[in-house]
Amino acid sequence: MDLAIETRALSIDYGANGGRAGVFDLELAVAHGEVFGFLGPNGAGKTTTIRMLLDLLRPDSGEARVLGVPARAGGGDLRRRIGYLPGDLALFGTLSGHATLDLFTQLVDRPPVRRDEALDRLGFPRHALARKVKSYSTGMRQMIGITLALQHEPELLILDEPTTGLDPLVRDAFLALVRECRVRGQTVFLSSHVLDEVERCADRVGIICGGRLHEVARVDDLEHRKQRVVTLRFADGRRESFESDELPAALLARVTALRGDAALVDVEIRPLGLDAIFRRVVQEAAR
């Protein structure tokens, strides 16, 4: 298979005082043109993995190949083919938005063919580009960060918690851009702890926990594991709440049984989030 990202037994241990922390024996394979969701709770090793892929952090052992080239040996020529959005995005506060985009265009040394489109689609106010970045809101800074990653139309996008600070509308626009990247043949490696947004754009997901990759699965296959919190509100003021991973038909039957003769005023079904899936994945891994 033609792989955009491939790691073999990639490991780094930076645990202090005998404790273990880092990433261990990571075996990852992301195909060209794929949107890969890299899921994990805080401290799971997502950012560490990404930093190793970009040679910002060097592993103790194992190998990482990016776009067919060893991450370390690839150097600047490799990294200009990558668009990167760090999780804790920091920009030069004294530069304007425009100057920031220009600086990174020069540093990457590729024309910003998608800059205007990305800014427009994300709804970034053009007049604000003349202002200094330090005057931007968190969301605006994140939009600039996303544009930095996208503007030179890289072959591979590595996005670490890309929707941090974005409002729902901008988040939708961003996810649409990611889906279009797949259509354009770009590979997207998207790290997140928000299952919902990964589901909306990823082909496959990898779940990392405690520095170990516990599972790689197609998004469709995760559907049956999705935990939900179901809250029923009855006309008599009674509320019932339960967790469920049942498929719609079974869930409906359970709601009907709970309801009995009481009049149902409202049903709220909320995804429980990644934690529940993690608990299950980790428990399964421990067995």
Partner: protein, 275 residues
């Protein structure tokens, strides 16, 4: 070398680095305006002994204390002038990579075509014109001051030129040393390098040690050897002006140490496990 980074450094730090060069120029102008009165009241100063400390440091045993040459050492050796030179060298070298690491922009920069090696090289190259400026500025200050006092023909210009070469070498030393401190020195290669505050702290220790050793080595003869353990021990304007030392040797030592430090910074940054 990375031209976009060099351009960014130029836009961001040129003004600040260049502004520091005004200090030695102004000190030269000040020396020029003080010279007539200084000469006029020199006998009184001698009698009162108010110049004793200055005469020790500016080596009145080598250069007559009532001469123009004696007073025009100020743009080169005044502590504020020294500090201005260190600031000019430290502004860009502390900003990249230590400052960028602290601000969190280093990851983003190094995820582009910019490599760790070119980051270090470009930052060092950026300091070179300002090192040269800090060699020219005191010379310019002396020239303006001497013109103002009407003593242009009384000064050993070639010797002042040699002192400027030593100034350039001293600036190179600080550029290299600060860059090495910014990269993180030779220790803890597995961990992240320092942020700007950490590197600045280390630079402060280096500067304070150098000044203390210079003072102790000058005031007490038996500690004279201490001076050679600091950069200021190799920067000796009075001796150069008096022609008692070989300025090319001292300059070579200073510049060599600076280049060595910059090379070490490059190697450390290349080998560091994490930026």
């Amino acid at each position: 070398m990375n031209w976009p980074l060099l351009g960014h450094l130029a836009r961001r730090y040129s003004f600040g680095c260049a502004a520091t060069a005004l200090v030695p120029v102004l000190l030269g102008v000040m020396a020029g305006s003080l010279l007539p009165e200084y000469r006029e009241k020199f006998a009184l100063f001698e009698k009162l002994g108010v110049m004793r400390m200055a005469q020790t440091f500016l080596r009145s045993d080598l250069i007559p204390a009532d001469s123009a040459t004696f007073l025009f050492q100020l743009p080169y050796v005044h502590p504020v002038s020294m500090l201005a030179m260190i600031v000019a060298m430290a502004l860009p070298t502390l900003a990249f990579p230590a400052g960028a690491r602290g601000r969190g922009t280093l990851d983003l920069l190094l995820a582009t075509r910019l490599t760790r090696e070119s980051l270090v090289t470009t930052t060092f190259v950026f300091t070179l014109p300002f090192a040269a400026l800090h060699a020219v500025a005191p010379f310019l200050g002396v020239w303006i001051g001497a013109g103002q006092a009407g003593v242009v023909d009384q000064l050993p210009w070639r010797a002042f030129g040699r002192v400027s070469v030593e100034s350039f070498a001293l600036a190179l030393f600080f550029a290299g040393a600060t860059l090495l401190l910014s990269v993180g020195g030779l220790r803890r290669m597995k961990t992240r390098g320092p942020e700007a505050a950490g590197a600045l702290g280390a630079l402060a220790v280096l500067v304070i040690w150098s000044l203390l050793a210079e003072i102790v080595g000058t005031l007490w003869e038996r500690f004279h050897w201490l001076k050679r353990a600091t950069p200021y021990g190799w920067f000796e304007p009075p001796q150069v002006l008096a022609g008692t030392v070989n300025p090319w040797f001292d300059s070579s030592v200073l510049a060599g140490c600076g280049l060595l430090a910059a090379t070490l910074a490059l190697l450390v940054e290349r080998r560091r496990a994490t930026v």
